[in-house]
Amino acid sequence: MQAALEPFLQAHADEVSWVVVAQLSPFAPPENPGRLYDFYRASNEHQIENEVRSALKYNRNSRLSNKEAGAWMEIFVAYWRAVGFILRAEEARNQGRIEDRQFVDIYDAWKTMTDLIVRHISNGSLPNWTIVCMYVTANHLRRFAIRADEQLAQSKSNVTFSPGFGDDIVSTVARNEKLEEAARVFNKMFALCLGDRNPDMRESRKWGTYYVANLLFKTYFKLKNVSLSKNVVRSIEAQNDLPDFKVYPAAHRTTYKYYVGVLAFLQEDYTKAESCLTDAWNMCLPDSMKNQELILTYLIPCRLITKHNIPTQTLLASYPGLKRIFGPLVSCIKSGDLAGFDAALLAGEDTFVKRRIYLTLERGRDIALRNLLRKTFLAEGFEDLKEGQSELDRIRKTRIPLSHFVVALRLRSSGQALEDDEVECLLANMIYKGLMKGYISREHSMVVLNKKGAFPGTGV
């Protein structure tokens, strides 16, 4: 045990947080695949406490204060136990027989350890630079919680009678009880980081704020409790003594901007969403393709609404995943192919719904329709030249029979034949939404378009 804790003491003395973090990792590093196993085998349930104590407290090399040594001792003992559960589960998996609660046990053990870190940071036993350990450990906790919940979901039905004297027959039991529990731990951490009063910013826990916030976002999204994320954003925005956003690590900032953007997107605040997602997009590292794809998944529908923009084929070409889901939709919007648009939306429905962009993309049909109407308008050609007018004075025909639009829509729509009144209704919609300028005259069965800019923003 003494030997096993040597790297920790060294790293701690140098205050190299990432090495300390590595000493508390639930995974063995690739260059030393046997690390967890060796670490676990170095002790046993009866001796672990004493051994860790002597390695940390009574070791000549150890420069830990008594209080801090005590804290680390508890943490390492908890870690050792958690490693035990992890190894047992690994072994069971290799033999193909995972037991009922194995992942739950890992989660519970890991939570004990996480709780200890939180407690010792908040009571001041551990220096503030160790918040890195705290939030990395927390991130592992999130993963373990998800696995534990999956296991619990398999082993019990999620419908039971309500335990109280309620009036109704059934209550849905928390399907993600472990992740919900983990969320409460993260919340505690969040408060711990956000509310740190240490005036020395180099020593402040406030540096963990955005990382833990991101952790909460991930958890709440997974729990389908997106609205709770809003509280996180609100408390950060209300806290006015945080260090400048710009000086936080780019990784924290990018993820944070991404989530704030997605939140705004889900609340249909597309302007804010666009600006946050664009920020995230600009900060994202050039080779983090996965993250870029995530950002674009929301940025593309967003710009479709705010700017009526569609992504270029060149952009989509670099992201095969996005090209697959957005490609057909985009080309149908461009060509005004309503039937194709409906088919593409239907084909991608499952993916779109899962990513919560379906209802937004659906509105892209307006743009497809606008493009179709614009083509019809262009096909109408120009007014005859009057005397004394030159080619330059030519103006487009702006009085277009309704029937022409009806024909155009029938050509490019699928399903049942469109009624004339329905086409009229869709035209009225275009006018109402400002995608087309003009008015409908029922008496003359004509659409009278604006002579200057019938389709704003499209050059005609």
């Binding site: 009678f161 009624e419 109402y432």
Partner: protein
């Protein structure tokens, strides 16, 4: 793994009777483990038992050697629940009163088939426990043939447990048997009702109900019949009906009755609430029905799925709508009612008011009642639209487009929204025609539309 938990149960400072120590050891010993009962459950029960007697300073008085082991208590408790469930089931089958033969036949068919895919929780533990039950008790009593250990044995055993404790602890009931026991979930176990009244006022429970105030299922079935007849007949007092339904639902809950009859009750209450526009009650029923349908207990899942879609259209809840869309299967989408509701949703999303009002007129089931909740709002939205796209139109066109019954209704609607001055009479070749002139009307309707959408009242949303 067991060593630390055992030591946890007995902190060092207190003095424990040696009998208790051996009791704990026995409880955790390998040979006493019962299949189907986990170590964690045993530990829980152990803590509960010791805590209970420690509070009453009876640790030294109790005859620990003869006190049932925690795993046995758990098994007995489960058996008891199972028995009650069996009793409930028996009630259903016994309802052969001559008056209700027809319904009984209907019910038994449904109640025999429903839970093939999902066993209700109270029946789950049953069989396994009975079979393994002999093993755990080997040392204590003559060995029994597992196969023959039947329900009467179970009954005897249960009685023995009760007697066993009453020897020394006459004044206190053991924690696993009390109705008001401290923090025990078991206290809310099912009641078996004995009340025979058809009517009962709803009263929110704050304590476990007494059997004599609760009506068993056969009585409840007659209650439902009576309520149905009343609602179809003279009784138009919704408060009375709603109150009766709430007490009906409560009686079902406290007896843990969850079968096709339950579904019927909730469906009927939901429909009546819809008819009266009581979205609060409706939503409660809807939430319950959703879970009941998951248990495949029959009923009309498609109809209510369609209502749920329309309900989210009403509340404009995009997040919920998205979740719901994610749940839909292709089979769901092919149901007429669901198809209709989805069409309503997409028509509104695309601003296709023409299609929307057509769909309003042909809503299946009670969908139109739900659509009534947002029809005014959508009419205003359509007017905001039309007033911007047209200079003026014939009133008749508006009547048709907005799904009004006749011109008069349409006029009344416009008047109600301060638009009467827009209606003009125009004389042309075919006589006079009523027209609506939209000059300068767009901002007026836009403001009305915005106001209508800003106040979606979500009653009883859970």
């Amino acid at each position: 793994m067991q060593a630390p938990t055992a030591s946890k149960a007995a902190p060092a400072k207190m003095i424990w009777p040696p009998e208790l120590k051996t009791y704990v050891q026995r409880a955790l010993a390998e040979e006493f483990q019962v299949r189907g009962v986990t170590t964690i459950e045993v530990n829980e029960q152990l803590k509960k038992t010791i805590g209970y007697f420690a509070e009453r300073a009876m640790l030294f008085e109790l005859d620990w050697d003869n006190y049932p082991l925690p795993q046995d208590i758990i098994v007995a408790e489960r058996a008891k629940l199972a028995e009650q469930a069996a009793a409930n089931a028996a009630f259903t089958n016994n309802s052969s009163s001559p008056t209700s033969t027809k319904r009984k036949a209907h019910d038994t068919v449904e109640s025999q088939s429903p839970t093939k895919t999902s066993t209700p929780p109270w029946q789950k533990t049953n069989l396994a426990d009975r079979v393994t039950f002999g093993n755990g008790q080997k040392e204590k009593r003559p060995k029994q043939d597992d196969a023959t250990s039947s329900k009467s044995d179970l009954e005897k055993r249960r009685k023995r447990f009760q007697l066993g404790t009453s020897g020394k602890t006459k004044t206190t009931t053991p924690p696993w048997n009390t109705q008001n026991g401290p923090d025990s979930d078991l206290s809310s176990g099912p009641v078996v009702g004995t009340n025979q009244n058809l009517e009962k006022s709803y009263f929110r429970l704050t304590a476990p109900p007494k059997a004599e105030t609760v009506r068993p299922q056969p009585v409840l079935e007659r209650t439902l019949d009576m309520l149905r007849k009343k609602w179809k007949g003279e009784e138009k007092n919704y408060n009375y009906i709603c109150n009766q339904f709430k007490s009906l639902r409560q009686d079902l809950t406290v007896q843990h009755i969850k079968n096709s009859f339950t579904v019927k009750v909730y469906e009927m209450h939901a429909r009546i609430a819809l008819e009266k526009g009581d979205l609060g009650e409706y939503n409660q029923c809807q939430t319950q029905l959703r879970v009941l349908y998951m248990q495949k207990l029959g009923g009309h899942p498609a109809e209510f799925l369609a209502y749920r879609i329309l309900y989210f259209v009403y509340t404009c809840n995009k997040a919920d709508m998205n979740d719901l869309l994610a749940e839909l299967t292709n089979a769901d989408k092919n149901q007429d009612a669901v198809r209709h509701a989805l069409d309503v949703r997409s028509a509104l999303a695309l601003g296709n008011y023409h299609k929307f009002f057509r769909l309003y007129l042909e809503a299946p089931n009670m969908g139109a009642y739900l659509m009534d909740m947002f029809i005014v709002r959508e009419r205003l939205a359509a007017l905001a639209n039309i007033s911007r796209a047209y200079m003026s139109i014939a009133l008749r066109f508006l009547t048709d487009e907005l799904g009004f019954e006749n011109d008069r209704e349409c006029c009344a609607f416009l008047e109600a929204h301060n638009a009467q001055n827009m209606i003009e009479e125009k004389v042309n070749d075919n006589g006079t025609q009523l027209r609506v002139n939209f000059k300068g009307a767009a901002p007026h309707f836009e403001a009305l539309r915005a106001a209508a959408f800003s106040k979606v009242d979500i009653k009883g949303q859970i």
